[in-house]
């Protein structure tokens, strides 16, 4: 039975009325108002909603964000070696001093706060549009909330192939911060961009990323969610893919009391490819949820989902992944794997893989496993002299490897691997 609507609508109303409404030109005000209307109609989610039964949305929905202690891991920024054009937000507020000049050949980068003041802007055709389309058939209330309220973010138009990635660096300095950012990316025909995101962002942090990838264009996205133990994060990525385009997204998550990453992808042009991957490691009070919806609506497209979670000391993992193949989307090649490695009996993993197929010439496979460390492999490593803890870490990293291999750039893959190794090594004591 679906959750009663009225309390959800009241929760939405309360949340909206307590918020500061961002200012902007007519087009964005209209888009924000429309999003507000969507949210008022659907309400904020409750535990009784089908897609929230394993993840409690209460603290994401609450009017006040719970506090989150600051965490300093004493580490250099993870993607430093990528020499990206860095744009920094501190608790959701743009930090000009810590940001590079936004000029880079092959790409136009603007702050949403600036773009939203222009009377006419190309972002009008994207802002909130992919989010709106992504509300069917599964509602994503926090994305609508973000579209309605996010005061800033980046608006990126890619026309060529920039010489370096663009990195969004999210710092968290206020234990009570409650931040929203909304990014819009338009990758023009034949163009290509690598977008990096790193850091915790805020005590409670919401991001929406809307990406339109035109024909023969490519978008690579690599994200490392900050290690703050008490942070709460909800993210949405909405992507629409043109003919022969490529979309790749990888997310590393270590720590965080609550993380919900939703990814909604629509393959609308023939021969397009979408890969989404995640490697999550949680210890103790950690809840991580990957919710994915991929729609194949064109011929000969490929999609691949690889999600791995390592959980210990009562950590919880959730995976909800759906592949929808529409009638006519022949020659679809869909693959989905979600796996968890539970390092003790207290940790839990819930998975719901879904396939819905209306075409008759497709290859779709999915699998989900939950397991412990392979004792035979562990003994083999130890019998060769590798101490138990180190051997276990080797097996943990081996388990995550398939997801990490989805990162094309070897240096970025190495950076992610380094972090994961560091995280494990610290727990070895």
């Amino acid at each position: 039975m679906p959750a009663p609507l009225k309390p959800k609508q009241e929760a939405a109303e309360a949340r909206l009325s307590s918020a500061t409404l961002p200012q902007g030109a007519g087009w964005i005000t209209e888009a924000r108002r429309a999003a507000r209307g969507r949210l008022e109609a659907m309400g904020l989610p409750s535990r009784r909603d089908e897609y929230w039964k394993w993840t409690n949305p209460a603290t994401l929905a609450a009017e006040e964000a719970p506090e989150a202690a600051l965490f300093d891991g004493g580490e250099a920024p993870i993607f430093e070696a990528a020499k990206a054009l860095v744009v920094t937000f501190v608790d959701g507020v743009f930090d000009a001093e810590a940001s590079d000049d936004l000029a880079l050949e092959g790409v136009e980068i603007e702050r949403l706060a600036d773009a939203s003041r222009a009377d006419i802007h190309w972002a009008r055709d994207l802002y909130g549009r992919l989010e709106e389309a992504g509300q069917e058939p599964v509602q994503r209330p926090f994305a609508a909330l973000n579209t309605a309220l996010a005061p800033d973010g980046l608006v990126i138009r890619v026309t060529g192939t920039p010489s370096r990635p663009v990195e969004l660096r999210y710092l968290h300095r206020d234990t009570r911060s409650d931040a929203m950012l909304h990014h819009v990316v338009k990758v023009e025909e034949g163009a290509s961009l690598t977008l990096l995101e790193s850091g915790p962002g805020a005590a409670r942090f919401s991001t929406v990323l809307e990406v339109a990838v035109a024909d023969r264009a490519a978008f690579h996205h690599i994200r490392a969610q900050g290690r703050d133990h008490e942070r709460r994060t909800v993210t949405h990525a909405f992507a629409r893919l043109g003919t022969e385009s490529v979309f790749k997204s990888f997310t590393m998550t270590a720590n965080g009391v609550l993380t919900r990453n939703e990814c909604v992808i629509e393959l609308t042009g023939d021969d397009a490819s979408a890969h989404i991957a995640g490697a999550a490691m949680g210890d103790g009070d950690f809840h991580h949820d990957d919710t994915v919806f991929i729609t194949h609506d064109a011929v000969n497209c490929e999609s691949r989902q690889v999600f791995k979670k390592v959980l210990r000391n009562g950590a919880a993992g959730v995976f909800q992944g759906k592949i929808l193949v529409k009638a006519g989307a022949q020659k679809t090649d869909g693959y989905q794997i979600s796996q968890s490695l539970l390092l003790d009996d207290d940790s839990t993993f819930q998975a719901k893989p879904e396939l819905e197929i209306y075409a008759d010439d497709v290859a779709c496979s999915h699998g989900s496993t939950t397991g412990a460390i392979d004792e035979t492999a562990l003994f083999y490593l130890r019998a060769r002299g590798v101490p138990r803890a180190e051997a276990q870490d080797m097996l943990v990293l081996a388990f995550l490897a398939e997801a990490i291999e989805e990162i094309d750039d070897p240096a970025l893959g190495e950076a992610v691997l380094d972090r994961l190794q560091g995280w494990l090594a610290r727990r070895r004591g």
Partner: protein
């Protein structure tokens, strides 16, 4: 080198006694072979010596150069110089063969208080050893034992032995699943490692491996005990007459 005294072992989970008083004394540089019918406890002996879970030692002891092996963790035994070539080498997806070997090599050195060596130096070391065993670069790059044929897995075991340079090597049915050529290659690998300071315990069903790896001493094991010990001729006797005669003789 390896001294086993009155070793009694049962399964941890059930009341099944497997070893009923094994005595063995392998001197430095010696090659001993243990033969015996299925279920006689040969493989259990190798697992107990290397420290695998699931077994309970109820009596007796095992010393490696005077050190009590049974008190050590598996990794400590390896660092002390014990090596078990597995009957069924384990496949480990996601761990590169080379990374695995280098990690093991350096872990052992670290445990012995020696300097770890760099990736580049290690590469040089392993290349030479791998060449002798006809292990190509591709096999070194692949995940541990993944997609390896039976022969490749056994060669990989011998490669690990050649790189780790243990003092006491236990070969558990290394000949199983090997064709004649592969067996020759593996035996050559083992023979190349024979030296005054290194001892071998070769566990096998058949005499044929012992044609290639000539033992100094042959033991026959049955029902958890060494029932007969002799020279290389004993293996030939088994080959000709089977175990029945010898076992009948003991009864």
């Amino acid at each position: 080198m390896l001294k086993i005294e009155n070793l009694h072992v049962k399964l941890e989970e059930e009341d099944k006694v497997i070893l009923r008083g094994v005595d063995l004394d392998i001197g430095p540089g010696q090659v001993h072979a243990i033969m015996g019918p299925n279920g006689s406890g040969k493989s259990t002996l190798s697992y107990v010596l290397s420290g695998r879970d699931g077994y309970e030692v109820t009596d007796g002891r095992a010393l490696l150069e005077g050190e009590d092996l049974l008190e050590m963790e598996p990794e400590e035994r390896a660092a002390a110089g014990l090596f078990l070539a597995f009957q069924y080498p384990v496949e480990i997806p996601g761990v590169g063969n080379m990374t695995f070997l280098r990690t093991a090599f350096n872990a052992q050195r670290k445990a012995r208080g020696e300097e770890e060596i760099s990736a580049a130096d290690f590469l040089k070391l392993i290349r030479a050893r791998a060449k002798d065993l006809q292990i190509d670069a591709d096999m070194l790059k692949r995940p541990v034992n993944m997609g390896f044929s039976g022969g490749e897995k056994k060669r990989n075991e011998i490669l690990q032995m050649a790189v780790l340079e243990p003092k006491m090597c236990i070969l558990d049915e290394t000949d199983s699943g090997l064709d004649v050529d592969a067996m020759k290659l593996v035996a050559d690998g083992v023979n190349a490692l024979r030296s005054e300071g290194r001892s071998f315990l070769v566990i096998t069903h058949y005499q044929r491996l012992l044609n290639h790896i000539a033992p100094d001493v042959v033991h026959i094991m049955s029902a958890g005990r060494i029932v007969k010990t002799g020279g290389p001729d004993l293996a030939l006797e088994v080959e000709e007459n089977g175990y029945a005669d010898i076992l009948a003789e003991q009864a």
